[in-house]
Amino acid sequence: MSGFGGFLLRRLIGALVTLLAISVIVYVVFYVTPGNVAQITCGPRCSPAQIQQVAEQLHLHDPLYVRYWHFLEGLVAGQDYSTGTSVQHCSAPCLGLSYQSDQQVTQLILTKLPVSLSLVFGAMVIWLVLGVGTGVLSAWRRGRLTERLLTGVTLVGVATPVFVIGLVLMIVVCGQLQLLPFPQYVGLTDDPEQWAWNLLLPWLSLALIEAAAFARLTRSSMLETLTEDHIRTFRAYGVGERAVVARHALRGALAPVIALNANNFGSAVGGAVLTETLFGLPGIGQELVHAVNVVDLPVVVGMVLVIGFFVVVANAVADVLYAVADRRVVLA
């Protein structure tokens, strides 16, 4: 148990270091990005004096390290800010206030995160079912027509840009056939049925492409597992082919799939930007791109950290799952 605890601790420290490093990089990169933040925040027709005031308001004149230090302070101790008429407290971990909307970044994240998570979780279920199913089937039916067909379909999936699939799906399914509503986000807690109904299409577009990758991975992993010795053992003991595949080959073949999935989940939280934009889902990715465009540094840092957090956590989970799935990894 202490081994596992130690592993978690090391992972945790590593994750923190990674996230801090990411925040530094983002700070530096956006510090040198062109774009007059005060001007953008103030509006196009602000006078130089107004811009000065806004810049002071946002501490834009402070040197980079001072601003970063404030960021860290806010993260640890929270920070107070003025709305003009009153003083509010942004409690730790405070990621600061958006330059553009004056909202607390943490709150902004909390409102956007459910959307992205809904999108990615749902899509994940679909891509796992579709991808693993297709992969297993094509590995099992190796060399037959089924396999060729499935291979072809997955290749098409791999080779099609998501922005084409998404748009065409929406136009055909919602526009011409009118089978589904044009997606708009409804909270899961508000109306679960509408939630699922509205997200179905985004899920599909995101999942189809991922599913293709998973199908390919599952197939090759499956083929590799089928050559392993213990598969031979069970064949030599009269266990039927179906049971061999379902019980013994699949279990082994899924280890890399699990790892990839955990990794994918993390990056998909930030990577579903296009799907979010295309379907007008107000998630993390869409907000992030907007923030980048208006050089809204606190929002960019906050969102990137959240995405980084998911990637790091997902990677750790992948490692744990991998170890749990395959005990040999830890001991051997």
């Binding site: 103030c42 107004q50 991922e210 791109v289 465009n293």
Partner: protein, 572 residues
């Protein structure tokens, strides 16, 4: 093989010149299909109107909104001293009273403006609206925390230049007097005959001091209009408005307020918006958009479909897309070079790049082609449809560039049609025929905006555009050509760096006029006069083509905003 995170392609980033908050802006339908829609065209009260928009109305705070005529959605919540006339076409460019009893009473030289509030005006909570609230609303727009509005108040009000708003400066703005609860007096530092136009902007809405929550006010601003804010999620991404029961139609001649509820959904992809409107299913049948044009591709489809074509609202907003020269950069210091380029431009290519003749009208004048601006047609350097390459070569030869010329055209990479790469390449292609080799310099939106509005970094040859803060020549010409508005250490819009005494004097003279028709004529003449200097090459005026749902009735599109007015729309 994961798709890399993609993004907001159609992120219309902060547009320079004028952010049309929630699609504000002016104009009027030429072909009035408005009345043609629906069998029973009589509008009735009730129902929910859905607004499908690409860009959220961020900062839904009257101090921070930058609108023309008070905006579309904001104008449902915020009543102002004056407002735009809710009529189709040119009639819609007039300014009419709103909270005030008239459009303002100037003193003799138009430096003092007095307004009287109507009787019986209340907020959504039933409390009375006072002139002090209007003063406070204006004052708070000076707070750096609440930046974003138009610059006129700061420029025009006496002693306002250094005012920092009521949070830091408790003394208030002395330029605004409130002798009694219904009277408000504005003292200007120079004559401004167009002050009534300015009073249409949301900064002129009353804000009760007791309810002011500073930067948080936008989450629930106090309504003076027919609707109140029920929810405002994620900084304007979804705004739900419901009827304000304390609003009285008796005090408001402009807003019809037919629907019971208005649901504004933003952050949608523009092609999705148009697809939804054309499908017009379910709630989308009672939907409109205030910020998304039909794209050229969609137009091609719509033009072949009678049912759809009947549901397109066409409007004009005072807007000009043009090429700007910086005459301090060689070779653009030479008027012959600027003229040569004016001759060489192929406006039909440019118009096509902007979406074709249905979405853009070729422009040879800087002022928009509307009467209220004082439009006077002229074409000083006639390029014909496809550009006059021969004339251009001739001028170049005179300027000493017998063997052609290589120049750099700066443009934005943003994916909107106005300054987009497509227009730049169209110009590049046209100038090639005249022996001018154009190198393109595409900049990211923010970078572009910074560079062209900074006198130190301003390129010599770039794409620009300008829109009207209100439908008049004043806000159209003054910021661009008034020599005293050259800003050395901030955002400068006089990109031609024109500082011509006679131009400055004429601008001052026109500003004194309170007869807006007379003023318009002189703006038109001034435009032509400035045009002779060839500091800009007008390219086109955009045309708004917007779909609306099947159930939409009472479509009114003024030349002020160019889009259908939500306050007039009915869904039953």
């Amino acid at each position: 093989m994961r798709q890399p995170s993609l993004t907001a392609r159609r992120v219309a980033a902060a547009t320079v010149g004028l952010v049309l908050a929630a699609g504000a802006a002016a104009c009027g339908p030429e072909d009035n299909d408005a009345k043609a829609s629906g069998g029973d065209s009589t509008p009735h009260k009730g129902g929910t109107l859905t607004v499908l928009n690409a860009n959220p109305t961020q900062d839904f705070d009257p101090a921070r909104l930058y609108t023309s005529g008070g905006g579309n959605v904001p104008s449902l919540v915020f009543r102002t001293l004056t407002t735009r006339n809710r009529e189709n076409g040119a009639a819609g460019t007039e300014v009419v009273p709103d909270l005030a009893t008239d459009t303002g009473r100037p003193n003799k030289d138009a430096t003092v403006w007095t307004y009287t509030l109507k009787k019986g005006l209340t907020y959504e909570d039933g409390t009375a609206i006072t002139s002090a609230d209007i003063k406070y609303g204006i004052e708070r727009s000076f707070a750096p925390e609440l930046s974003g509005g138009a610059p006129y108040l700061r420029d025009w009000l006496v002693g306002a230049a250094d005012y920092q708003g009521p949070y830091k400066d408790k003394k208030g703005l002395s330029a605004i007097g409130t002798p009694d609860a219904r009277t408000i007096v504005f003292h200007l530092n120079k004559p401004e005959g167009e002050f009534p136009y300015l009073a249409t902007q949301t900064q002129f809405t009353p804000v009760p001091k007791a309810k002011d929550t500073g930067t948080k006010y936008e989450e629930h601003p106090v309504s003076s209009g027919p609707y109140k804010v029920v929810s405002n999620q994620n900084d304007g991404e979804r705004i739900v408005l419901e009827r304000n029961t304390h609003w009285s139609a008796a005090t408001d001649a402009e807003r019809k307020a037919y629907p019971d509820r208005i649901d504004v959904r933003s952050g949608l992809d523009s092609s999705v918006i148009n697809q939804r409107l054309s499908t017009s299913q379910g709630a989308d049948a009672a939907a409109v958009t205030t910020d998304t044009n039909l794209g050229p591709a969609e137009l091609a489809k719509v033009s072949g479909d009678k049912e759809l074509a009947a549901r397109v609202g066409t409007g004009h907003f005072g807007y000009t897309n043009y090429i700007a020269f910086n005459p301090t950069v060689k070779p653009f210091d030479n008027p012959k070079v600027r003229q040569a380029i004016s001759y060489a431009v192929d406006r039909s290519s440019v118009v096509n790049a902007a979406g074709g003749s249905a979405l853009a009208e070729p422009a040879t004048t800087f002022l928009p082609n509307q009467k209220s601006f004082g439009y006077e047609p002229y074409d000083l350097f006639p390029a014909g449809k496809a550009g006059n390459a021969a004339k251009a070569r001739e001028l170049l030869a005179q300027a000493g560039y017998r063997n052609g010329l290589t120049v750099t055209l700066t443009h934005s990479n943003a994916k909107d049609f106005e300054t987009s790469p497509e227009i730049a390449t169209a110009i590049q292609d046209a100038l090639k025929k005249a022996g001018i080799t154009v190198k393109l310099q595409g900049l990211e939106e923010n970078d572009y905006s910074d560079k062209i509005h900074n006198v130190k970094t301003e390129p010599g040859f770039f794409l620009a555009h300008w829109g009207a803060d209100w439908p008049s020549g004043g806000p159209f010409l003054a910021p661009i050509f008034d020599g005293r508005q050259i800003v050395k250490d901030g955002a400068n819009f006089n990109t031609g760096l024109l500082d011509d005494k006679s131009v400055n004097a004429e601008i001052d003279a026109i500003n004194k006029l309170t007869d807006l028709d007379a003023a318009a004529k002189r703006w038109g003449a001034l435009d032509k006069k400035i045009g002779e200097q060839a500091l800009t090459v007008p390219l086109f005026h955009p045309v708004y083509k917007r779909l609306y749902g099947k159930d939409i009735k009472n479509v009114v599109i003024s030349d002020w905003t160019g889009v259908l007015d939500i306050s007039q729309v009915a869904v039953k």
